[in-house]
Assembly symmetry: C2
Homo-oligomer: 244 residues x 2
C-alpha cells in the first residue's frame, strides 16, 4: 500500500528547498486527492532522489517544504523499447506497462502495417509520468518522436542489440536467447498487429545486431508482447534480481 | 498475419460435419467481418483441434462444411490464475492477457482490499473467447465464479503450489524461485491494488504450498503483474520453449 502520494516535479530537490506547485498539480492535490495542509507527500525529479515534506495549501496554490530525502536516485536499466503504435487505448497501455516494468526510453516506430501513424508523444509522456508516480519509479522514461523503421535501423548504434519479437517464428525463445547473449545495452522491438511485412522482415534479418526471438506459441497482441518481453528481460538481465 | 478468421464453436468437429452458426455468429461473419460465401474460416471447440472450411451464407444464417483439420488439439500447460478483480477495464485486460499468455483456468478471488466484489463471469468468459480466437489458442480458459480468499485457501489441493506475488517484499524473484522449485501443477495469485491486508499476508504465509515471490523493485498494477508473472512462468516451466 502506498504510504503517501508521489508527484513528479521539474524543480531541483535539495535540503531546505521549497516547491511551488503549478495550478494543475495544486488542483490535483487538493481536489482529486483531497489533501489538507500538513499532509505528507513525496516528490521526485529523475535526478535528485525522492524527497518528502508536508503540504502547505495557500489559497489556490500548494507548496511543499522538503524535509528529508527518503530514497537515493536510482536509474532503471539501460533498455530501449521500439514499438509500432496500435489503437489509442492499447498504445496507452504499452506506455503505461513499459513504464511500470522499468523501461528507460521508448520510440514509436512506423512500420508497413502500422495502424496509426499519428502519435502524440506529449500525451504519452503525461501517461508515463502518471505510471512512474504510481509505480514508485524515481525517473520518467523518455518518449522520443516517432520515426520510420528503416530510418531508425539505418542510423542504429550497432553495439546495442535489438531483440525483435517475430510472430512468424524465431529459432529460439527470448528467455533462451538472453541466457546465451547477455550483451548490454539492448532494445526490444515489437511490431504492429499483423506483424512485419516481408520486406521489413528481410531488412531486420540483414543485420547481425538484430536478433529474432519468440514469445511462445500463441499470437500476442502488441501490448501483451511488450509486457511479456520486458518482464523476461528484467528478470534475466535487468534489475529484478536485486530486490530483497 | 492471420490467414483466416477463427471462431470458437460449441459443436462437435469431425470430417463431413456441417456447422450451423447461430444468429450472433452469423451477424459477426457477414456484417463485422464482411465475409462472402466461399470465404475460408477456421473453427475450434477446445477438444477436436482446429478445422477449416468454406462459408455458406444462406439468407441471414451462415453455415460451414468442414473440409480439413488444420491443427491437432493441444492443451495449454496446467496453470491456474487467482486474481483479485480490479476496475472494469483493468479486469478485462487481466482476462484478455491471461488468455493470450496461455492460462488454463482463472478464478476471481475476493480479498480485503478488493475494489469490486461483483464480477460477471459470463462477460469475462465472452472476453476470453475473443482473446482465444485472436491468439490462435485451441481452447478457452475456464473462468470460475468468484470466491473469498480464505475459503479458496482452506479447500486448496496442497499439491498445487501457489506463487503469490508479494509487493511488500518477497525473499526471491519469481524467476529465481521457479528455477529451484520446478514442481507442477501451479497457480499464480495476484492481489488487488493496495496489496493484501496484514491478516491475509499472515494466512498466506502459514501454508507451505504458498510461496511468496517478487516481481521486481517497482509497484506493478494488477494487470501488469498478471502479464508479467504468466510470461515468466511460461518461459521457464510452460510451453514457450517448445516453439520453433
Amino acid at each position: 500500500m502506498r504510504k503517501y502520494p508521489r508527484l513528479f516535479v521539474r524543480s531541483r530537490l535539495q535540503q531546505g528547498e521549497e516547491i511551488d506547485f503549478d495550478e494543475s498539480h495544486s488542483k490535483y492535490l487538493t481536489r482529486v486527492l483531497r489533501l489538507q495542509s500538513g499532509d505528507g507527500i513525496a516528490v521526485f525529479n529523475g535526478r535528485d532522489g525522492e524527497w518528502q515534506g508536508k503540504l502547505v495549501i495557500d489559497g489556490r496554490r500548494c507548496r511543499l517544504a522538503l524535509s528529508e530525502k527518503s530514497r537515493d536516485q536510482k536509474q532503471v536499466p539501460d533498455l530501449d523499447l521500439l514499438f509500432a503504435p496500435v489503437k489509442k487505448t492499447r498504445t496507452d497501455f504499452i506506455v503505461e506497462k513499459a513504464t511500470e516494468l522499468g523501461i528507460a526510453n521508448m520510440t514509436p516506430v512506423i512500420t508497413a502495417f502500422t495502424q496509426s501513424a499519428r502519435v502524440r508523444t506529449d500525451r504519452l509522456t503525461h501517461l508515463a509520468i502518471e505510471a512512474a508516480e504510481q509505480s514508485e519509479r524515481l525517473d520518467v522514461p523518455t518518449i522520443y518522436e516517432s520515426v520510420a523503421l528503416a530510418r531508425i535501423i539505418s542510423g542504429w548504434d550497432v553495439n546495442r542489440t535489438i531483440y525483435y519479437c517475430d510472430e512468424a517464428g524465431a529459432d529460439a525463445t527470448f528467455a533462451d536467447t538472453l541466457k546465451t547473449r547477455p550483451a548490454r545495452p539492448a532494445a526490444i522491438l515489437i511490431g504492429p498487429e499483423g506483424g512485419f511485412s516481408e520486406s521489413e522482415r528481410q531488412l531486420l534479418r540483414q543485420h547481425s545486431f538484430i536478433i529474432p526471438v519468440s514469445l511462445g506459441p500463441r499470437i500476442l497482441r502488441a501490448e501483451t508482447a511488450v509486457a511479456s518481453a520486458l518482464s523476461i528481460w528484467q528478470s534475466i538481465l535487468g534489475d529484478w534480481s536485486q530486490t530483497s
